[in-house]
Symmetry: C2
Subunit: 169 residues, 2 copies
């Protein structure tokens, strides 16, 4: 059973053990593969508006996600999220649980849309997952991602409206 709650500073060392191998692989997130722990903390914790953790039934952190405005000013009603699931906890639907939580959270924070800026095309599982959750490929960025094994590959901008026009006031 997974529960999702806000990040506490005491979670960081456990989160870093989840983020570090993900970033080091260089296959899904566009961060330096040798990113420092300090820089990762800045990106995952300090810059976002809020960061959450997913905990399994015995209190271990199985995943984490952040939420923030994708742009300031006139674009700040569109949010951006990043999700990472711990290697040991993959295939259990935790990404979907975090996504559903982030959707509710985004709506409650007043966001109207969600945008992922760079979903690597070769990351087929992620593309399938986000489509399943209602995202569409808004655009293809040719050779925008330098994959460590595949070379230059396309990346997708994926996008979803969170609120229907009927709910607008």
């Amino acid at each position: 059973m997974t529960s999702i709650r806000k990040f506490h500073n005491s979670d960081w060392s456990e989160i870093w053990t989840i983020l570090e191998p993900e970033f080091q692989s260089g296959e899904s997130y566009s961060f330096p593969v040798d990113i420092s722990e300090q820089e990762a903390f800045r990106i995952w914790i300090e810059q976002p508006t809020v960061t959450f953790v997913a905990e399994n039934g015995i209190g271990n952190i199985s995943g984490t996600y952040y939420i923030k405005p994708n742009q300031p000013g006139q674009g700040s009603h569109v949010c951006n999220c990043g999700y990472v699931v711990a290697e040991y906890a993959r295939g259990q639907g935790i990404a979907s649980e975090m996504y559903r939580h982030s959707h509710q959270q985004a709506v409650s924070m007043g966001f109207r849309c969600m945008q992922y800026n760079m979903v690597v095309a070769s990351n087929e599982g992620a593309v399938r997952l986000w489509k399943h959750h209602g995202f569409h490929i808004a655009g293809t960025l040719p050779e925008a991602f330098h994959h460590p094994k595949l070379g230059y590959v396309d990346a997708y901008v994926m996008y979803k409206k969170l609120v229907s026009d009927l709910l607008e006031t």
Copy 2:
């Protein structure tokens, strides 16, 4: 006659008189319309890799642009630029001159592609200009920009490869 050169700190007060009305209008750039001078300096001068100014024949600054990687890590071969032309100098082709300079500059810095993340669809002149210079609309972001007069309008991700595959090594 326009010449383009690197920004010097002594240019800032003149640049700010160009940027401030552009950002205040809220119609083209996704910055807070009440952005502070300090924050504008951070965005236009400190964060980019390099910033340039266009000077007219009598030494007045008629425009400015910056260049920076659009993403870190595996996306850092794609650059992002922002351009603003002084109100008094519009319609003279200065945006195109800055664009051509930025293209050469980007190639010389090793960038392979250029991406504009948010070209406001209602800004038809900009869309036409970038198409003229070889960009295509990679994607449409529905209602991603909150225009002060038009409400929620679409924005485009525009993209261009700077180097042809024949030049790859």
